[in-house]
């Protein structure tokens, strides 16, 4: 390994560290959350308006809390409470779901884009 190799390795590692920091501190804050129940009914929630949202699912009521630009599950009638443990969501592109109650939460930024394209 010569000196150029070491410099390349060092720069690569620095790049990775930078990218990891950027990834875990996303700077595009979400503006809206879309809540879907049973894959259908879409509720568009403004994240800058603090509120409590209740959504009906097959098992019962899932409750969301919106606070200062972020949103979280605060109650849901599911056995594992994975949705509640996922915590606050505020970055555009975040996605969380309570699968037993068939409720999903998706955060969107100001620019909307496609999920995927297929040819």
């Amino acid at each position: 390994m010569n000196r150029t190799d070491l410099i390349i390795l060092g720069l690569s590692l620095a790049l990775i560290v930078g990218l990891f920091i950027r990834t875990f501190h996303p700077h595009e804050d979400g503006a809206y959350a879309y809540i879907r129940s049973d894959g259908a009914s879409v509720q568009r929630v403004d994240l800058h308006h603090d509120q409590i949202i209740r959504v009906k699912g097959p098992l019962g009521e899932t409750v969301f809390e919106v606070n200062a630009g972020k949103i979280r599950f605060i109650n849901s009638p599911c056995p594992n409470k994975i949705c509640i443990h996922s915590g606050w969501h505020d970055a555009a592109g975040d996605f969380a779901a309570c699968l037993p109650n068939r409720v999903t939460l998706e955060i969107k930024g100001s620019t909307s884009s496609y999920d995927s394209l297929s040819y």
Binding site: T4, I8, L9, S12, T23, G93, S113
Partner: protein, 173 residues
């Protein structure tokens, strides 16, 4: 029969042509072998075919390395059956980015060793593939969360491939 009618056009391959064919065949074999090995994360591959490209670059020069890479992607995709599918375009994008960066370093006054070249190639390869995947197939902001993980693997596998290339070059000296 006149002499004119029996004359055949003879293409005599040079030593260099034969060498490129052998190296490309080796790269294609590794490429196919890899496509059969299941990997834990999508988008991650050991990139063993890249060892052949690096070896060619360091021993025979840039133009032969370009030939070997281009033949590998074209012929490899024809054999696997992915020619002109999304997989092929990802492969092509990765190869072009990788060989482009190798060419840049090859002509620069910096003189990287096998490990440096391998690192550059691996990261360029995954970045080229990632950008193609992002802009052509999955333009979802969540994709960017995958990039640091992909690049981490690229660094680890890049160093490993570099070490393999280095010992290969030493043994064949």
């Amino acid at each position: 029969m006149t002499e004119k009618a029996t004359r055949l056009i003879q293409l005599t391959p040079t030593r260099q042509d034969v060498r490129i064919a052998w190296l490309a065949a080796l790269a294609i074999s590794l490429h196919i072998l890899e496509s059969a090995v299941p990997m834990p994360l999508p988008g991650i591959k050991p990139g063993l075919a890249n060892i052949v490209t690096l070896f060619t670059l360091l021993r025979y020069g840039l133009s032969e390395a370009i030939w070997v890479s281009v033949i590998r992607v074209l012929a490899g995709s024809l054999i696997i059956g992915s020619f002109l599918t999304p997989t092929f375009f990802l492969s092509l994008a990765g190869m072009s980015a990788s060989i482009g960066m190798l060419a840049l370093f090859y002509h620069s006054p910096l003189k990287p060793g096998p490990i440096g070249y391998s690192l550059v190639a691996a990261q360029a390869h995954i970045s080229g593939q990632f950008l193609t995947a992002y802009f052509l197939f999955i333009p979802h902001p969540g994709m960017w969360n995958l990039l640091p993980f992909l690049l981490s693997f690229a660094i680890v596998l890049g160093v490993l491939n570099g070490i393999i290339t280095r010992s290969l070059l030493r043994r064949l000296q």
